[in-house]
């Protein structure tokens, strides 16, 4: 199987023609974005006006216009976004992943939020561990970025400006939590994502040769909406909110943030690294589901793989 794959890649490699070599002289031209101006007439949608009348408007005019680059760099004034993930409720439904990918127009292989199967020791029980970007207060990725393409905002969010990113991948080696994803090839883009003007707040459309990651959906926050992973989760695992307002919500329940992390012994994952994450975990005590429920939709091969990868045995 692997042999065959290698063979294919080799063939693909050698099937490139010599003109390619000449073509490389126009490097910048080749790297032009794959998005082209939509050729069809702009899509119209019906919208309910306040007076109850339906009006026809072009679709692009209602999708919220992204904020200015300056605002996208500074953040939403007065906010400090936090996330609380209740490990007792997760059963690897993977809807957070699916919703995130849908929202950011991503291919299935790019996961900005990942769900790991964790087991702290051979004697303890495994549990599912959803992991977005931690949006650290001492972000190692931001420290090392040579061009300021990834930056920390006043509202606590760490964003990537893929217009500025040079693709050196230093941030990926600096991040101890494997939160970052590189665009190794030009991803197929939908017309919708192309028509959208780029903003670091929406992270759409993606760009080849740059780094992407979970952005805490600041574009949604500006509309007072929760991030995709929060609303996507069927079990209310993920809570999101504003630390300044001292509240987190999973869409159906709201708690005072300070009380929740206090009463339920919230903790930081690998706090010893000194990164000061803005994502808190509630320990997987009194779990709602047996962890094996998370294997329901997986193939035997995947289950075996997960089981072998949890506790390091030496």
């Amino acid at each position: 199987m692997e042999e065959q794959k290698n063979d294919q890649s080799r063939r693909a490699f050698f099937s490139k023609t010599v003109p390619a070599a000449i073509g490389m002289l126009g490097v910048s031209g080749l790297l032009a974005e794959a998005c082209k101006a939509p050729e069809e007439e702009e899509e119209k949608v019906s919208l309910l006006a306040p007076d109850g009348k339906l009006v026809q408007v072009s679709k692009s005019s209602i999708s919220p216009q992204p904020v200015s680059p300056q605002e996208a760099r500074e953040g939403i004034p007065g906010k400090k976004f936090v996330m609380v993930i209740d490990l007792a409720r997760c059963k690897n439904a993977r809807q957070c992943v699916a919703q995130c990918q849908k929202m950011h127009n991503q291919p299935a292989e790019d996961e900005w939020i990942k769900v790991f199967l964790m087991q702290d020791s051979e004697d303890t029980a495994p549990y599912w561990f959803p992991k977005p970007c931690f949006h650290c207060n001492q972000p190692p990725c931001v420290k090392v970025c040579p061009v300021g393409a990834t930056y920390k905002r006043t509202d606590g969010i760490v964003l990537v400006d893929t217009d500025r990113c040079i693709g050196c991948k230093f941030c990926m080696t600096a991040c101890p939590y494997s939160s970052r994803v590189f665009q190794w090839k030009e991803a197929p883009k939908s017309a919708e994502s192309c028509s959208q003007p780029y903003s670091p707040e929406t992270s759409v459309p993606s760009r080849v040769g740059t780094v992407g990651k979970c952005d805490f959906c600041p574009d949604m926050a500006r509309q007072g909406k929760l991030p995709g992973c929060v609303t996507g989760c069927p079990n209310g695992v993920i809570f999101f909110g504003d630390k300044n307002e001292d509240i987190v919500s999973n869409g159906s329940e709201s708690f005072r943030f300070s009380e929740l992390v206090h009463d339920r012994a919230g903790y930081h994952f690998m706090a010893e690294l000194g990164t000061e994450p803005n994502v808190y975990y509630l320990p997987p005590v009194d779990r709602l589901f047996d962890y094996e429920k998370g294997f329901n939709d997986l193939s035997d091969e995947q289950v075996e793989f997960y089981k072998n990868s949890v506790v390091k045995k030496h």
């Binding site: 309910l48 109850g52 007065g78 972000p139 420290k143 007072g224 919500s249 709201s254």
Partner: protein, 287 residues
Amino acid sequence: MNSGFKHILLILSIALISAHGIIAQETELANTKLQAAYYKDQNNLERITAKLLIKSERYEPFANAEVHFYSVKDTTKTLLKTIVTDEKGEATYILEPDAKASSDSTGQVVFAVEYDGNPTSESASKEIMVTPAALKVTFFQEDTTKFISIEAFETGGGDTPIPITETEIGVFVKRTFSYLNIAKEATNTEGKLIVPFPVDMPGDSIGVLTIVAKIEDHDLYGNVEAWGTINWARPVPIADEARRGLGDTDAPLWMVYTLIVLLSAVWFHYAYVIFLIIKIKLAKHHI
């Protein structure tokens, strides 16, 4: 029997079964269900939200279907509006002023929402009766203790509002992504509810907090909401002074100075060496 004949039989029977399936689908209409709720907000803006569901395996939102909104008065139905459901199966009708006035003799306003059905799905309808009501949120202080006062009353019965007694009201703090519930209690005999103000709750930079009172899913009043603001909460200062650090835009000063010193020391020497090379050229006539 040879194997070819067997195959033909098999194919035929499969075709029969599937054909039966198609016919069955055409004859049996899918169940539909309509839900409707009445909402009234702070600005007295009223709306009716209908949600249309269709049953395949279980009830799911039915998008792109026409839903009619009617005003019902003494058994006469007047069509207010026809709205197409969105992807969540929802259609929202915002009441126009003339629709509001049409309360019947009992002081109740009656609306009907209908779905006509189509060749594959059943029709559905839902009627809601609303007694117009309103809420009022005020604040007062006794000694050092701060309170929220909520008044609930019916607005349909002429000039004097009738207090709504013994009715459960939810009190919330408005936050960016949701409302945080701080109390859920019934009004007293005067139609009033008094709850302590959450003074430890953080407000904005000057401590302004929005308190929301709600009657939720009530048989008579539907959903009624009102809010009030006051600066009694804990202020959260916005401290965003520019910093110089490893993670900031500007580097720590010691780093800037070190870099300048190191680089200029080296490049000064390069410049001096180039100066020496020029001197070599100029010194060609020396002995």
